[in-house]
Amino acid sequence: MKRKLVYLKNVTTLSFKENKCLGCGMCLEVCPQGVFTRRNGKVEVSFRDYCMECGACAMNCPTEALSVKKGVGCAAAIINGFLKRKGTHCCTLTPEGEGGKGNATPCC
């Protein structure tokens, strides 16, 4: 049995600027949700509601045609963020010091 699991409608912050797109297809390659398709050589956002805002497409788009407010869809992380918990707690939303040391809040 294969069933496509889809989350809430019309919530994603994904935005696609068609005029900037070169059609390299990186987004099609990295998207784990199958949001994009290619029609007549052009990339299209065909399944917006499949987007889980992981940020892979934006990260790998060489022309910045794609952007998304990247984040983890994790209730615990949001609660931790709200309670301003850091460090020992598992998920947090804003890792301090991007890519730096000491921001590793193990989890997931």
């Binding site: 809430l8 949700q33 790998n60 983890v72 939303l93 890519g99």
Partner: protein
């Protein structure tokens, strides 16, 4: 061997090869891991060799991590590893330093000879680390530099798991290191076919699934986390029973403290075990909606059993129903973090109504139960 002792942990000494005497402390630590079976010499010195055959110890480690035992400290030393007997032309696959990620990768590669570049993700799996940026462009470039990979292989190709893409910018890696990032399949088990097809994935390999089995393996950790909270609540209830022992420890008394403890365990069964398993079949899109649906079934069954077979009062059962509904919905909502298809914007949206509802149900139910307990 001072350095080895200093690190602690595994004290088993790796057999010292001709290259080891010139290795840095960090490299020595890499060799001094139980799954290292030998060494492969390269222009950059000895590289620890690993096998694709997983031992009982590896499987046991995976099992323990699934149950939350030393899960946050299940890591290996970052750096380059040789799977089998790779040479200058062998593929380079990149992974996280979560031991389970590393094991899944080497286990899947079977008889392939390959270089495995392990990034320092602080012991976190690929996808989560990529989400946080620890499995990122910067760390990859850094690791390439300190391992001297460009001297070890002739080609300039790296195979990364597709799920590393939220943290890695392929064009940036190319610009800064000269290496081309190829995003491989999501599942390590698809790697042999991906390699055979000349680094081309099938559309199926690129889609994240969340099958029954994939949900089932998440149940233990959800269960353990929930039971920890129940354990504390149970202690409080028992303490409450001691303070007021009139019938509190008598199962046939309607106001005993065992029924609330049972109701919490019941909530955990439905919220942390059955919810993940039934996820695709529950109505609604928000996890909390699905949770309420499952919760209503759970409290209905609980009420029928407790009213018919255990002497309990209506207000007692009703108050516990509210608490159970709150707990199950909360556990369901919390599963968004473990699931594979929820977005931050979406979870924020559902929490705006679900969290107040859960708190209201929980607090109201608890107060109601407490008063019926006191006035008994």
């Amino acid at each position: 061997m001072e350095v080895l002792a200093e690190k602690g942990g595994e004290m088993k000494k790796a057999p010292l090869g001709p290259f080891l005497s010139v290795l840095s402390p960090a490299a020595l630590q890499q060799f001094n891991q139980p799954f290292v079976v030998g060494e492969v010499s390269t222009p950059k010195g000895a590289v620890p060799q690993v096998s694709s055959r997983l031992t009982f110890r590896d499987h046991w480690g995976t099992f323990k991590a699934r149950w939350g035992i030393r899960r946050m400290d299940y890591k290996i030393v970052p750096g380059l590893y040789a799977l089998g007997n790779p040479d200058k032309e062998s593929p380079v696959v990149v992974t996280a330093n979560y031991k389970m990620s590393f094991d899944k990768l080497r286990g899947a590669l079977g008889n392939h000879d390959a270089w495995i570049l392990v990034l320092d993700t602080k012991g976190i799996n690929v996808w989560c680390a990529a989400g946080k940026g620890t499995f990122g462009t910067e760390e990859l470039i850094f690791r390439l530099k300190i391992t001297g990979l460009e001297k070890i292989v002739h080609h300039r190709n790296l195979i990364l798991p597709q799920l590393a893409a939220p943290g890695v910018s392929a064009h940036e890696v190319k610009k800064q290191s000269g290496f081309t990032v190829h995003y491989g399949p999501i599942k390590a088990t698809d790697l042999p076919l991906y390699l055979k097809r000349g680094l081309r994935a099938t559309p199926e390999m690129r889609q994240k699934t969340f099958s029954f089995l994939e949900r089932l393996v998440l149940v233990p950790i959800e269960l353990i986390k929930a039971l920890q909270i129940v354990f504390i609540a149970a202690l409080l209830l028992l303490l409450l029973g001691l303070i007021r022992n009139k019938g509190a420890f008598n199962m046939t008394d309607p106001h005993n403290v065992f029924l609330p403890i049972l109701s919490l365990l019941w909530s955990v069964l439905w919220g942390a075990v059955l919810f993940p398993l039934f996820l695709p079949f529950l109505p609604g899109r928000a996890f909390s909606t699905k949770g309420i649906f499952l919760g209503i079934i759970a409290v209905t069954v609980f009420s029928l059993i407790s009213l018919n077979y255990i002497d309990s009062t209506i207000e007692n059962v009703l108050s516990l129903n509210l608490v159970m509904l709150a707990a199950i919905t909360y556990l369901a909502m919390n599963f968004t973090g473990a699931s594979t298809f929820t977005s931050l914007s979406g979870v924020r949206k559902e929490m705006r109504w679900a969290l107040p509802l859960e708190i209201a149900l929980g607090v109201f139910g608890s107060i109601l139960w407490f008063f019926s307990f006191l006035t008994a």
